[in-house]
Subunit: 304 residues, 2 copies
């Protein structure tokens, strides 16, 4: 089976990118879409993010065989309930949320009996809204599917093929394991970045203008992530609470150990730690998950 | 006054970039250089990082009117002592170290009576060694001079003009204030990045290959900084201990507050915090201190 009509609910960075990628790579598929914000709907129509921008979630899904929910994870249940009455019984419902156990539960409750195959494309930028999406967002990125144990293999395969057509590599994973892995590769980094940017803006001995001026010393890297969508991230932390708190605990222990090494002047411990973290960067670049050029290939020092 | 003969001690990322920037922007200046590592000296000669690669630090500074020490901050005192006997009395000694109070003290002790004007160009990449430098590293970056209170204004002006010629904006600052500002804009971010990368590699429930695969969720941003030179950073943390520990204390308090908000499910507090950190990113981009393109302008998703 392949999908013929895809409905995209939520037309921000992710929803918009799915729509544009479908248009580019799967031109035979008809797309409809909806966003709760009228201004976003208007921009989506202007940019052609989907073939038809509808006035309700129900209208958008009425003829769909695949529905992709691209709203903050805390809104999944409510959005699913909103479109439930119009949803064709054969349609597959999926999403792009960053945590998977909570979403699976919310969708199963709102749509009893429906085929639900949660998904998470591990891709994004710090931008949000209907102008942020672009068709190549998923190229060379991983998309993790977390089908329930009893999922129809043909439908899982169809969803995998859909994401592969958009440029992603697909991996199947248990939802609980997904939430643990992403807690460390995505959720913890975002929480840390949000924290440090907040810490820097609250200092009394250092002005905000100094923080901005001298941010090229490292701080600016954190501000990119800390510019991500606040609603999306609030929901992620609340919905993946246990795994995030577990990772935070480990991070804090490790930070305390380095703090102590600084306090007692243990240069060998610091050096040993710093030496070991270099290897991970090399592997990430070798696996095509980051830009090999120094400084992410930034152009602002006049090089790129 | 202007400098005619510049000696660069240490030919890694910073020393090499100073040499190449002088060649490009101040072709009238003659440069000599030295590095303790013979392999680095050989590469420096091949790349032409300086006009003359010397076999000792003393040889490199013998005819210099400006000496720029580009070695880890913990090595400044020893390197200064090594070249002291050959140093012309009129030469200005400066450096590029990331902490300034400790360096000022070490240089004053090693070179009594010499004119010492510490400096810190806030620029760099995650690369190190003689192949890492490039002439535009300092373009649009700030260079902070921390002259002692009794410094000759003409010599301070000459050093400022030197850095401006290499493309930097120059700012004068008290050394203690410099160390506080950089503790938050550079040292704390590096320590946090080194920590989180270490935390991620030590998990038993998540494999290192998973961490690498799904790093595009945010983690990869931290690995860039955590790939920086271990010796340099060990020395920075040890030499700017008080300010770093102070910033760490504040960071930990802020992180604990967010951790508690997650634990008790206080979405409003999370949202309020995340909303506020977006503004800083905008300011950094407006001030030309980072790339305005999403994702730092990374090319790896096929866009750039």
């Amino acid at each position: 089976m392949t999908f013929q009509r895809v409905a995209i609910i939520g037309l921000g960075l992710l929803g918009g990118s799915v729509g544009l990628a479908v248009k580019e790579h799967l031109p035979g598929i008809r797309t409809s879409g909806y966003d709760a914000d009228p201004a976003t709907r208007a921009r989506a129509a202007t940019r052609g993010l989907v073939g038809t921008v509808c006035e309700s979630a129900a209208d958008a899904v009425r003829a769909a065989d695949l529905v992709v929910l691209c709203v903050p994870v805390g809104a999944m249940g409510a959005v699913a309930a909103e479109l439930a009455s119009a949803l064709p019984a054969a349609a597959v419902v999926s999403d792009v949320g960053s945590s998977k156990q909570g979403v699976a539960k919310a969708l199963a409750e709102a749509l009893p009996g429906q085929t639900i195959i949660p998904a998470h494309p591990v891709a994004g930028t710090e931008r949000s809204g209907p102008d942020a999406g672009f068709s190549s967002l998923f190229q060379q990125r991983w998309c993790i599917l977390t089908p329930p144990a009893n999922a129809d293999p043909a439908k899982v395969a169809a969803l995998a093929a859909f994401w592969e057509a958009l440029g992603a590599n697909v991996e199947l994973m248990d939802a609980a394991h997904h939430d643990l892995v992403l807690a460390v590769t995505s959720h913890l980094p975002h929480l840390i970045a949000y924290t440090i940017v907040g810490t820097a803006s609250d200092l009394e001995g250092v002005t905000e203008s100094e923080v901005i001026k001298y941010s090229a010393g490292g701080f600016r890297d954190f501000t990119r992530i800390a510019a991500s969508d606040p609603t999306m991230w609030r929901d992620v932390f609340l919905s993946n609470k246990d795994a995030v708190l577990e990772m935070l605990q480990r991070f804090t222990e490790d930070l305390t150990a380095l703090q102590r090494a600084i306090r007692i002047g243990d240069g060998d411990q610091l050096f040993g730690h710093f030496e070991r973290t270099r290897a991970i960067r090399r592997s990430i670049i070798e696996e095509g998950q980051d830009d090999a050029r120094p400084d992410f290939g930034r152009s602002d020092h006049g090089e790129g």
